[in-house]
């Protein structure tokens, strides 16, 4: 086996440090690559939204470009509730993927009987290990995630991105 110390060329220099979307942990959110870009634009405005069917009234999550109940394309964006209760949760001890530093807290949320989304599995941030309890109320939090380049004709454009998680309501005032 070759000695890494003595190797002249290591890795994949052909890529020359390029961005590889296949290895990206975040979605491609921009309009050029995703018809659901509005979801992320709404997040930037602090709105948690999804698509509602104008034909049958079904509210789907995740959003889409057709209604999964009646296959209509006539959809509109509607706001979802931004608060939910923790049903159960785990604090990952080991083995979390790169990019999710410990404590990686995952929670199963209940959005209440009036919400079209009953449950969602989410990441809880702004919360110390051992702090979260079953029954706690959490709320939506939006944050920036790394941008990525796209080629537009001969130019390289930068797509800024956001994503969302939830945080304990009691830490909201910080």
């Amino acid at each position: 086996m070759a000695d890494l110390q003595e190797a002249k060329i290591v890795g994949t220099p052909a890529l020359d440090g390029r961005y590889i979307s296949e290895m990206d942990m975040w979605p491609l959110e921009c309009q050029e690559f995703n018809r659901l870009y509005q979801f992320y634009d709404n997040l930037r405005e602090g709105r948690f939204t999804t698509t509602k069917c104008k034909k049958c009234g079904h509210i789907a999550f995740p959003p889409g470009v057709i209604c999964p109940r009646c296959w209509s394309e006539e959809l509109e964006w509607v706001d979802l509730t931004q608060r939910a209760k923790v049903v159960t949760f785990t604090e990952t001890q080991a083995g979390a993927p790169l990019g999710f530093p410990p404590p990686l807290i995952l929670a199963w949320l209940n959005f209440g009987k009036d919400s079209p989304i009953k449950h969602l599995l989410v990441r809880i941030i702004n919360c110390a290990e051992g702090e979260l309890k079953e029954g706690d109320e959490v709320k939506l939090v939006v944050f920036e995630v790394p941008a990525h380049p796209i080629e537009v004709k001969r130019e390289t454009k930068v797509c800024n991105r956001v994503y969302y998680a939830f945080e304990p309501v009691k830490s909201a005032s910080m």
């Binding site: 296949e22 290895m23 942990m25 975040w26 979605p27 999550f61 995740p62 049903v87 159960t88 949760f89 785990t90 604090e91 990952t92 001890q93 080991a94 083995g95 979390a96 993927p97 790169l98 990019g99 999710f100 990686l104 995952l106 199963w108 989304i117 449950h119 969602l120 599995l121 989410v122 990441r123 994503y163 998680a165």
Partner: protein
């Protein structure tokens, strides 16, 4: 007019599972070799169809159009079908469902269903990072849902809360399956045995799971031969094992679509099983031996409930009663299951079905005496899809 033929499982083979010094085509070749050792009369020219089941081959092995590459490596020149199939953890049992349809319709006569994964990469981080691509990437994975233990830990916590299931009951699953696997040299953790004390004092993975509650990812491959009963009789003198009925039910892709009242109820498994039982014309009480998807100890507990082996909520007591042991009413995971074998996603289904084939032919290592009906089950994704295959020593009338 040609009479309807029945599809049977003739035999099969598995590679050594584990952290393997091998690339994916090595594993496909090892599985095929084991399969040919099991069916000595089988020649490459007998196989007219090939179904290649793998999830990681695109990402981890840069082998996107996998089926023709595997055909070449195995010396097969399929004339009826040569496809890749990916249903993650249910890959090769999905392939067996497809093969049954092809054989019984007359499109194919002798189909190899093979699955393999090369999970472990030169650097360990890559394996866990790739898990972000096997869940619903833009939604659940971006929340950090990668490797499965956190999700199944929530299932366990909820089952404990709603039904009073205990860590001791979960440990009964780990102990049974590790001890079955201690007789199986192909298992990742062979020849390890496990005691209750060791299971309960293992290091914590994710509360309430200790090390032995969680199956390991593994590299490995498996292969089975599905054929018409006429061709099966040419290939082997062993008793015929019929694929009596199958069911596969997918309800959602991401956590927002979970179909149960809570995570402790799996109505989608119940439904998949109902479809399979109906097609197979059997009921849960008829099943003599089963291979259920024990990715975690709690999984087997929920599965015995939803498969109808006991009442809902009594899975913990059922496994602790010894029912799943070799002298129990319905031995489960008699080759060691996922807990002892490890889990190369696309390879696990055919590994399970090969064990059931041996059980119904009376030649398993941990043989269930007089077994007539057997059931294989996989869950896949974030417990989003369930796959059930039922075998029997007689065809459906």
């Amino acid at each position: 007019m040609a009479k309807k033929t029945n599809a049977v499982i003739v035999g099969g083979g598995v590679s050594k599972f584990g952290v393997r010094q091998a690339q994916i085509f090595d594993l496909f070749q090892e599985a095929a070799k084991a399969c040919s050792d099991d069916i000595p009369a089988l020649k490459p020219t007998d196989v007219d169809g090939l179904i290649v089941c793998t999830t990681m081959a695109g990402r981890h092995s840069s082998a996107l159009n996998t089926a023709p590459l595997v055909a070449h490596r195995l010396g097969l020149k399929p004339t009826s079908i040569c496809i890749r199939l990916d249903t993650l953890c249910a890959g090769s049992n999905s392939g067996i469902i497809v093969a049954k349809g092809l054989v019984e319709s007359g499109i194919a006569e002798v189909v190899m269903v093979t699955g393999a994964e090369k999970v472990f990469m030169p650097q360990r981080w890559e394996t866990n990072y790739t898990q972000l691509a096997v869940n619903d990437h833009d939604w659940d994975s971006a929340m950090g849902l990668g490797v499965p233990p956190p999700f199944f830990a929530m299932i366990a916590k909820m089952h404990m809360k709603r039904y009073g299931t205990t860590k001791e009951q979960m440990a009964h699953v780990s102990v049974a399956n590790y001890n079955y696997g201690s007789t199986n040299p192909k298992a990742h953790f062979y020849p390890k045995t496990l005691s209750m004390e060791e299971a309960l004092s293992a290091r914590l993975i994710a509360e309430p799971f200790g090390l032995f509650d969680c199956c390991s990812l593994s590299d490995g491959g498996s292969a089975v031969i599905i054929a018409s009963e006429e061709r099966a009789e040419d290939l082997s003198d062993r008793p015929l094992v019929y694929i009596r009925g199958t069911g596969q039910h997918a309800t959602h892709s991401m956590s927002a679509g979970w179909p149960g009242e809570t995570l402790a109820e799996w109505p989608h498994l119940k439904r998949a099983a109902e479809v399979a039982y109906k097609n197979a014309q059997v009921s849960p009480k008829d099943i003599d031996v089963a291979q259920t998807h024990d990715c975690f100890s709690i999984s087997e507990i929920v599965e015995v409930e939803e498969l109808g082996f006991c009442k809902k909520g009594e899975g913990g007591a059922y496994v602790a009663s010894g029912a799943i042991n070799i002298d129990g009413e319905r031995p489960i995971n008699t080759d060691g299951g996922l807990l002892s074998h490890g889990h190369p996603f696309g390879a696990s289904g055919a590994r399970q079905s090969f064990e059931l084939c041996k059980q119904l032919q009376g030649r398993a290592v941990n043989q269930v005496k007089g077994a007539k009906f057997a059931l294989a089950h996989n869950l896949s994704g974030t417990c989003a899809q369930h796959t059930v295959v039922i075998y029997g020593t007689e065809p459906v009338e």
